[in-house]
Each structure stands twice: as structure tokens, then as C-alpha cells.
Point group: C2
Chain length 319, copies 2
């Protein structure tokens, strides 16, 4: 039985939305699991009581993990993992360290979650820098493309980018149980193109069977690669730009209900809700960062991703 | 009378498409202009003869500038400006140097065009690095946002980015005859966010009245800024990603004619054809780079942009 820890206090829409997402994932998942619900115990109990009135579920699959600490706005964020062990974000990661959970999900502050994961669980063998990775859906393939880094490392040397490529390859080939094609984001396909750090990374990777060369911005959605590697500054801007496309398209068609429905149906592949949550790679354990404004559907998809990651042992290589 | 020089031999679809674009611009423009058509003289004459059969235009507004040189695949690209003065791409820029044209447009190789513009016309007073800028349409505003650099400078120091910001401000405020809001692309809005080079650039710009602070990837299309500044690596990836989104949306709806028409109409603002061409800033003269696969509509818009740039004297500050 897989055991998840979810920081249900972390989303913008409160524990109700987080718990609903978990319940819907439980209904659709072929893999049984139990969930530690980390947050305000009394509030979580009320949410479960209310949900029982409209949905049918097995309450024994939920463990309320009361977390009394609340993090103040002005607290020193890089020390939260040490100073606020009773907060829901730290507690859900600690449950992994204590061997009670196999994976954790939080929609809380990225910096706090990175610090907590890194210092509580530790970085994997041979991992220089843990990395934040995000799935972007593609038009042609059923599998999305993993983009990394999307914000954990702003300044990267070639050996860092090469290590991201290796982690991305391992994660994706394990998660989807098939070989991955890993590409480096660049401004052209020829060997001589792009900044020196990208060309140096290519030289480090050229002998890897899974390395497929450079990829340009206009091919990120094409499904030509399963993993796209770049530094965290570029990756973060790219990810946010992709997110804004979807809302822009929806805005354009807001006045036109029929077309909007058709578009939503057709372009749903680009909806950021489908990403669910983004994994930290290189940490000894499966930690997923969900979007602050996660919907029921986002949390459902985050839970399904976590289950898949645990089932396929995706963090095994750097444990 | 404004005089343009157009490298009609440079587009993927040949002189016919390029000349049609110019003719349609001439029909819609309130500003009269004459055009030097640079390329194979005999071929251009045939194109004009054929077009006369279906369109009505004043042939005296076109000057055929025969360019006998053809650039080989293996020629040293950075010396083309010197070794191939009789090629259409070099000739159209040279006509500016000779005082015969006020602006030039080419859909040819970016590197050759940058080199030719830089060494034939020279860089402006006080300009450290000329820069390639691109317009991206926005949803909310009638004016598009200018993104720079989009590929001329891959590694930039803070003083380079600050200089791009200044050029962008000047160009946009002149072109649209109203004050511009210039933002720096970053991964967060707080002063402490992002790579050092971006924070250092912010410090150099903070006293400028037109500087509006950081902007994130998801706000590039929002119309919150008129100019978005970043290095050429990031800008190039961003621009290409934007282009691919439009074709992706069209692909999704390809089987659904009615919806595709409605979407095309609504989302036309995102169509890269609307950009027309991207200007080099910091060169002593107006040089526009059109997309290699420019359509009639792209060339029409490139011509209208060139006319507007000349009329508003946008390169005056660094001449």
C-alpha cells in the first residue's frame, strides 16, 4: 500500500479543494493508497465530515496529521525546515524521513519546500544540485515533455546542465517505462550555435545514447523530445509563458460559449492544470510541488503523478 | 517621398510573394513611397509584368536593382558584406549608405544581415552592441510589446541590458508617439529575485522615468509593458515558443473549419505574420529582418513598419 503525505493547508483554496482532489484521484486510481492529511486537525476533520455527506469514501484511508505551527510572513524562509517542524509543509516531508510516507505533495512556497526537502531528506548520491522539473503537455504525443530546471538553479555550469539531463532521462524513462529522448534548449540546431555553456554541455552529453541534440523554442511543444534541459532562469520564464498562453486563448473566446467549450476540449492538452505538480529531482525521496492556485483537478493529477513515481521507483538512482 | 530597398530575392517563396506584399502595402499606406527591388533583374521584371495583369499599380514607383551575385552555401558568412557586394542582401543595405534609400528589408540570413548592417552603415553613437528586437502582439492593447534582444547577443552584462532598455524605450516611444513602459524579464517581481546580472541592470535603470521594474513570463502578453528586455538567448527561445503556440492552436482545430475561422479571427493577434519584420536597433539606419518564410501579409506589414519607422525618425538618437 502506497502512503502519501499531502500538505492540505497549502493551497490558495484551502483544505476542502485539496482533499477533494485526493478523493477524486482515489476514485480513478488503480493503485490503492492511504494519505496523511497535514494541516489544522480540527479543520481537516470538518472537511472530511462535510465531504462524507456528498461523496462515498473509506475514511480509514485518511490519517489526520495535525500541524499546529503557522509560518509568519517575516520568518527567515531558509530556516523554516528547522524552526517550524510543526508546520504542514515541513511535516509532510518529515513523514517521509520517518518512513511513514513514500511521497509528499505541497502547494506551499517553493523556496521553503526546496529547503525542507534538501535538508530533511538530503540530496542523492552524486547529485550536485537538485532540480525543479515541470511537465508541459505536447500536441502530438500522449506523454508530456519534462522541462528542467524551471527555477531552482539560476546560474548553471555545463556539468550542472549535464547532470539535469541525466536526472531528467532517468525520471522520464522510469515514469513512462520507455527510453527517453533528451534535448538541450538552444537557439539553433548546428553545433556552433548558442552560448558556450550550452555547447560545452552538448560535448559532455554527446556519447549518451539518450541524448538527442539541440532543440529550439518552437519545437518544445512538438513532442520531438521527452526531456528539455535548460537553466532555471530560462526554464521558469518558458513555463510561465506557456501557462499564460492558455489563459490568453481562453480570454479571447470568453464571450463565445460554444467555441470556448470546443476550444477547451481541443486545447485541454495545454491546460496547466494537467501538469498537476512538478517534481524535485535529485532529492532522496519523491517530493512534488503543486501550484499555489491548484484546483481539485490539479491536485488529483498531482496525486496520480506521485503514485506513479513511487510505483516506478523513479528516485531510486540517486537514493 | 520615402524610399525603401527590399531584398526581394530573399524569401522562401520567391520575388512574387515579396513584390505582392509591397504592392498591398502601397494600396493601404497613407504614406507614398518608392521601392528599390533588389534581386535578379530579369526575374523581377517578369514578376512585375505578371502582376500588372491582375493588379493596378504605378510602375514608376518601382526601381529594379539588378544584383548579379549569388551567395554560396560554403562562403564565409561574416565576410559576405565585403565579398558579395553584388548580392541582393548586401545591395539593399548599401543603397541606404549611398543615400538612395531610407530603410531596407531583407528576409535573408540573420547573421549576414547583421554583419552587413553593422559594417556598411556602422553602429550608432554610444551604442555598445546593436540589438535585434521583435514585436509580440498583446491581448489587451492595440500596440504590441517589443522584446529585445531576440538573438543578436547571447551573453550580456548589465550595461548591455541597460543599453537595450534605452534603445527599446526610444524606438517604441518614437514609433507610437507616446511614452513607453520598459520592463526587465525576470522570475519574480521582488528586488531580490533573479540572476545577479538582471538585478544589476535594475539598479542601473531604477532612476529612469520609463523603467517599470521586473516582469514575469506570464505577463509578457498582458500589455503591462511596452518593452521587455532580456538577453538574446532567452529572447530567441521566447519568441520561437510564441510562434509555435499559434501553429499549435491552428493544428488543434484543423478538422473543424467553423471554429478554426472563429479562432483565427479572435486569436489573429498572436499570428507571427502580424509582426512583419524585426528591426535592428543601434545601427545608423533602419534595417528590418523579415522571417525567411514571410507571406504576402508579413511583407506588407514589414513595409508598413519600415515606413512608420522612417516617418517617425526612430533611429535618430543613435545616428
Amino acid at each position: 500500500m502506497i502512503r502519501l503525505a499531502v500538505d492540505v493547508q497549502s493551497g490558495d483554496f484551502g483544505p476542502d479543494v485539496m482533499v477533494r482532489g485526493i478523493l477524486i484521484a482515489r476514485q480513478t486510481s488503480a493503485i490503492p493508497f492511504v494519505t496523511y492529511l497535514c494541516g489544522d486537525g480540527a479543520q481537516i476533520k470538518c472537511v472530511l465530515d462535510d465531504l462524507e455527506k456528498e461523496l462515498s469514501f473509506d475514511r480509514s484511508e485518511f490519517v489526520i496529521e495535525h500541524c499546529p505551527d503557522v509560518i509568519g510572513e517575516d520568518e527567515w524562509r531558509s530556516m523554516i525546515w528547522k524552526n517550524r517542524k510543526g508546520s504542514s509543509i515541513v511535516r509532510c516531508v518529515s513523514l517521509q524521513k520517518e518512513g511513514k510516507a513514500d511521497a509528499s505533495i505541497s502547494a506551499g512556497d517553493t523556496g521553503i519546500l526546496i529547503g525542507t526537502a534538501l535538508f530533511t531528506l538530503g540530496r542523492g548520491e552524486g547529485v550536485n544540485r537538485p532540480v525543479l522539473a515541470a511537465f508541459i503537455p505536447t500536441a502530438t504525443h500522449s506523454n508530456p515533455v519534462l522541462v528542467l530546471d524551471v527555477g531552482a538553479n539560476l546560474n548553471c555550469r555545463a556539468e550542472h546542465l549535464a547532470s539535469f539531463a541525466q536526472m531528467g532521462n532517468f525520471y522520464v524513462s522510469r515514469l513512462f517505462a520507455k527510453p527517453a529522448r533528451v534535448a538541450l534548449l538552444n537557439i539553433g540546431l548546428e553545433q556552433s550555435k548558442g552560448p558556450k555553456v550550452v555547447r560545452d554541455t552538448a560535448a559532455l552529453l554527446e556519447k549518451e545514447s539518450w541524448y538527442s541534440g539541440f532543440i529550439e523554442g518552437n519545437k518544445v511543444f512538438s513532442g520531438d523530445a521527452d526531456v528539455v534541459v535548460c537553466d532555471g532562469f530560462l526554464g521558469n520564464v518558458l513555463l510561465k509563458t506557456c501557462e499564460s498562453f492558455y489563459s490568453l486563448a481562453s480570454d479571447f473566446l470568453a464571450g463565445n460559449k460554444n467555441v470556448l467549450e470546443l476550444l477547451t476540449q481541443k486545447m485541454d492538452v495545454l491546460n496547466p492544470e494537467n501538469y498537476g505538480a512538478v517534481p524535485f529531482l535529485g532529492i532522496k525521496g519523491t517530493v512534488l510541488k503543486a501550484h499555489g492556485s491548484s484546483s481539485v483537478r490539479s491536485i488529483r493529477n498531482a496525486v496520480l503523478t506521485a503514485l506513479n513515481a513511487v510505483k516506478n521507483n523513479v528516485t531510486e538512482c540517486w537514493r
